[in-house]
């Protein structure tokens, strides 16, 4: 799922479970409507629980914004695969994508709310991470 609002930081939700990722994205939409570019991905390449780099790259592309993209992840592999995906981006995009150290559902909602107010990427990441710190 996606929508394009260049200007606001994009949000990508990565969970081992596609249902969690999609559900978290639904909660974000309810909070911020179409004000931020948003995409979600979950599951391994065979459709089981897990995460995959290709899916994450696609989600980053879908939620891409010139202001950058904040990624919210659940457990370890989601983070490792997200960091791998960021490194595989074209060089000019790499520095504009950050993985947030925050709970995936709450973090996504908070990050999107911050983004919808026009905050820059660093502030979006910070608010997601500070909420439960």
């Amino acid at each position: 799922m996606s929508s394009l609002r260049p200007g606001n930081v994009g949000i990508v939700i990565v969970s081992h479970s596609p249902k969690i990722a999609e559900g978290a994205a639904d909660m974000v939409r309810q909070m911020v409507g179409d004000a931020v570019p948003l995409a979600w991905t979950g599951g391994d390449v065979d459709g089981g629980l897990g995460t995959n780099v290709a899916g994450i790259l696609e989600a980053i592309e879908t939620a891409w914004s010139p202001a950058g993209v904040a990624i919210l992840v659940d457990l370890g592999g989601a983070e490792t695969n997200s960091e791998m995906a960021v490194e595989m981006l074209p060089e000019d995009r790499r520095a504009r994508v950050l993985v947030c150290n925050a709970p995936v559902v709450e973090g996504a909602v908070i990050a999107a709310t911050e983004s919808s107010g026009g905050s820059p990427l660093a502030a979006v990441k910070r608010s997601a991470e500070e909420f439960y710190a």
Partner: protein
């Protein structure tokens, strides 16, 4: 060490075979202290690698290793994909086409450093680094194929009493003690297959 096309294909098949044949064992190790998908994930990754043969073996050794790494990154899923994939990719980047033993020692060290950075981990945390690091030490000290293979097996065994500090098993805290780390076991299997196939031509 000079590997012709036949030897490169043999190496790929041996690596994949070792993982695929032990997929059930890896899964049951992972069911004990992880999320139970390690065997399945690694099997999927190496089946995808096999599917790129015979073209894969037409590549030079460094290019072949990079391609294996990229396939694993894209197909394995879970944290093992980026970790094991990074090892192969960095090894490929650091090796010349016909590596000497010192080249292999240096390149392996670089690949291990990349795995540490990717996982933000060090040896001692019950991860594949607990096999890679001690095996590298044996390689660097001039150990032969037998010594390297033996260290790979023993290093994986030594993860059993460790407490996991990184990875899914770390959620279990002390309950991770008493089970072999699945990632260490798969690293050990890969190393065993590699040295068996190469018969350590790198002695030269």
């Amino acid at each position: 060490m000079s590997l012709d096309r036949v030897a490169r294909e043999r190496l790929v098949r041996a690596l994949a075979g070792a993982v695929i044949e032990h997929a059930d064992e890896l899964t049951s190790l992972d069911q004990a202290i992880g999320d139970g998908d390690h065997g399945l994930n690694m099997k999927r990754g190496f089946e995808a690698v096999l599917a790129t043969l015979p073209g894969l073996a037409d590549k030079s050794l460094p290019e072949m290793l990079k391609a294996i790494g990229m396939t694993l990154v894209m197909k394995v899923g879970g944290a093992s994909g980026p970790l094991v994939g990074t090892f192969f990719m960095e090894l490929g980047k650091a090796l010349p086409e016909q590596p000497s033993r010192p080249d292999l020692v240096t390149a392996t060290e670089k690949a291990i450093e990349a795995v540490k950075a990717r996982g933000r981990s060090e040896a001692g945390q019950k991860t594949l680094l607990d096999v890679l690091v001690p095996v590298h030490a044996v390689l660097a000290e001039g150990g032969d194929a037998k010594a390297i293979a033996a260290e790979a097996v023993q290093a994986a065994d030594r993860t059993t009493p460790m407490q996991a500090i990184r990875g899914r098993a770390s959620f279990l805290g002390e309950r991770s003690i008493g089970h072999m780390d699945p990632g260490s076991r798969s690293a050990s299997l890969l190393i065993g297959a590699a040295v068996e196939t190469l018969k350590f031509e790198v002695n030269t």
